[in-house]
């Protein structure tokens, strides 16, 4: 199948290096300590953070740092044909683990000993790149909850189809079976905290693809920071003196 047309356009009309439209909104869940909605094109994800709060299971309590937990789930209505499976399948457990590890790397857990932070992410619309979108949403939600973080983690995916590196794959491109590189970076420190790849790629091309994904991460980081700053300013001016 042709994923990049001779004119250099992808199936959804993007250029190979073009990202989908991103939109972020802070404060979607009123009961949570922090929450956010993140959209990348048709992918839409909601994240809620509870905590730092008292550890629910005393045996899991860590005496010098906070316990970070994460739950990833997909809404039944998120995919094209309605999902029948209940939560807790292998895929979502794996993604929960990935998100937890990525977020734990950026949270300053030693500042909140004997407490726990719960991150819940749910996919409302799935159109490829859900784990990237979940990480971005979780970052925003953590910042909204006022949890100290070392850096902003953002994530983006890239692939390689029709011998062209493609940024931010959607569902059709994702299910083409080609290589799919998901990268998560700490933007200021310029460090990689997450790197996953399906299928194979030659070494030299891999570097190009990964560089493309990193560029995507940086673009997302800029947007996320703008959203956070806007939100902080708004809270401050509304509060008044």
């Amino acid at each position: 199948m042709e994923y990049v047309s001779p004119e250099g356009l992808r199936l959804d009309g993007r250029r190979p290096m073009e990202m989908r439209q991103i939109r972020a909104e802070i404060g979607a869940v009123s009961n949570a300590d922090g929450s956010a909605v993140f959209e990348m094109g048709n992918t839409k994800v909601i994240a809620a953070v509870y905590g730092p709060r008292e550890v629910q299971n005393r045996s899991q309590q860590i005496n010098d740092q906070a316990l970070v937990r994460c739950e990833y789930s997909m809404a039944n209505f998120s995919t094209g044909d309605r999902m029948r499976k209940p939560k807790g399948d292998r895929r979502s457990t794996e993604i929960s683990l990935v998100i937890r590890q990525t977020m734990e790397a950026c949270i300053l857990t030693h500042l909140m000993p004997r407490s726990q932070i719960d991150i819940f992410v749910q996919v409302l619309q799935a159109d490829g790149g859900t784990r990237s979108a979940c990480i971005n949403a979780a970052t925003l939600a953590l910042a909204d909850a006022g949890i100290p973080m070392r850096d902003i983690v953002t994530s983006c995916s890239a692939g390689f189809l029709n011998s062209t590196p493609l940024l931010d794959l959607n569902y059709v491109e994702d299910s083409a079976g080609g290589p799919d590189v998901t990268v998560g970076i700490l933007t200021k420190l310029d460090k990689v905290t997450l790197l996953q790849m399906d299928s194979k790629l030659p070494m030299d091309i891999f570097e190009n693809v990964m560089q493309l994904a990193i560029e995507g991460c940086k673009a997302i980081a800029n947007y996320i920071r703008e959203v956070m700053l806007e939100n902080t300013k708004e809270l401050e001016y509304r509060r008044g003196i």
């Binding site: 959804d12 909104e25 404060g27 909140m112 910042a143 006022g146 700053l229 809270l235 401050e236 509060r239």
Partner: protein, 404 residues
């Protein structure tokens, strides 16, 4: 719309759709140009939000990503109100004025995570909360406002959990009774501990706590009781201890507990307020838990609790009390209404994100009474917008006073 499968569009469909969208924009613009006709009769919320979506869509397609225009004005966090066109515009205007006022008045800088905080390294810098060092620069680890006190630089976070300070007056809820202590939920990262030994006994006598006292702990506070106390400090094991060594602290009954974000409550000299006009007690807990309840004469509290514990001890007694007697235990309807009115005022103010203090709160309550609003109408769109506008006026007059 012609979508295939998971809502992924082919290129032609995208182009197709774009065309229809531009058409729609034109139509909606025409609708918007008669806001009053449309707005006053029925809430035109749906049409309005649609236009905004179209706007954002076309903007992004053309590659201009202007955040300020893109971002929907978020009116409130908790309340979802159907604002009509005029109310929307009024609210937007009021919020804009607030923003202008704030930018004029303060020099404080908002930062987000990983923003560099400019400091003068020659004077020496003390890094406080919410900061860390990276390559010799001071970097924020929180979203908030930079505060400087002499050499100390720290970031005051906004929407975060409560950070206790010694002497803070807080309201909490008992969640567990453990040996010699109660555990209280106070919106902190851990549960707080109230020791039996750090509170006055109901009989008011100072003495060693015996095993009998320990067994009778439920006669003082039970699970799910709302309690007012003071922060005593951190123990060396890192747990937070509370104390209630005065008549003004203790169990709170016959009222409402409201939770607001803690940054909206400022630390002040007075956190207990007796609103004589309404016969209501108001406690603004520093942890964002706010108590609105019937006024209790604190001097008589000792007796009250005694009689109460007697009642609880003899359950037989309680069963035999007649309905009438139980009814007399309820507070008057008028007072209950006052409580609800004050509580709704708090809800309105906190969902607007305005800081809470007694003066503003009372003004809001009086305004609602003056306008003859029912209690439930206070949570309506019109009152909401009015309070926003009132706050603008208040802040303008405040800045004038300061200048003059």
């Amino acid at each position: 719309m012609a979508n295939n499968g998971t809502g992924i569009r082919t290129r032609d469909q995208v182009l197709d759709r774009e065309e229809t969208r531009t058409k729609k924009t034109v139509v909606l613009d025409a609708v918007e140009s008669l806001p009053n006709i449309n707005g006053s009769l029925n809430p035109s919320y749906s049409s309005f939000s649609q236009t905004e979506n179209v706007l954002s869509f076309s903007l992004l397609r053309s590659g201009i990503c202007d955040l300020n225009r893109l971002q929907r004005i978020r009116e409130m966090r908790d309340l979802q109100l159907p604002l009509n066109q005029t109310q929307k515009i009024r609210l937007r205007k009021a919020l804009q004025q607030l923003q202008e006022l704030a930018s004029k008045a303060s020099t404080s800088a908002s930062v987000t995570v990983t923003d560099t905080i400019p400091v003068n390294h020659e004077d020496g810098v003390l890094k406080g909360h919410g900061t860390s060092e990276l390559d010799g620069e001071v970097v924020a680890t929180l979203c908030g406002v930079v505060e400087r006190v002499n050499k100390l630089v720290y970031v005051r976070s906004l929407r975060a959990r409560y950070k206790p300070e010694i002497g803070d007056i807080i309201v909490g809820r008992v969640i567990e009774i453990a040996p010699k202590r109660w555990r209280l939920e106070i919106n902190f990262s851990q549960d707080a501990v109230l020791m039996l030994s750090s509170m006055n006994l109901p009989d008011g006598i100072q003495r060693r706590r015996t095993a009998v006292d320990e067994l009778n702990m439920r006669s003082i506070f039970e699970e799910n009781d709302v309690v007012c106390a003071e922060v005593r400090g951190f123990q060396h094991d890192g747990s937070l201890h509370l104390q209630a060594r005065s008549q003004k602290y203790g169990k709170l009954e016959r009222g409402q507990l409201l939770t607001v974000p803690p940054y909206l409550v400022k630390r002040r000299k007075q956190h207990f307020h007796h609103l004589e006009k309404y016969a209501v007690d108001l406690i603004l807990g520093c942890n964002g838990f706010i108590w609105v309840g019937e006024h209790v004469e604190r001097d008589n509290m000792v007796e009250d609790q005694e009689t109460k514990s007697e009642q609880q001890n003899s359950k037989l007694n309680r069963r035999t009390t007649s309905l009438e007697e139980q009814e007399s235990n309820y507070n008057l309807q008028e007072i209950r209404q006052n409580i609800c009115r004050i509580a709704n005022a708090i809800r309105v103010l906190s969902s607007l994100g305005f800081s809470l203090n007694v003066e503003v709160l009372m003004e809001t309550v009086e305004r609602s009474i003056f306008q003859n609003l029912d209690i439930h109408e206070m949570l309506g769109a019109e009152f909401f917008v009015q309070i926003a506008e009132r706050e603008v006026e208040r802040r303008i007059s405040l800045t004038k006073k300061r200048k003059g």
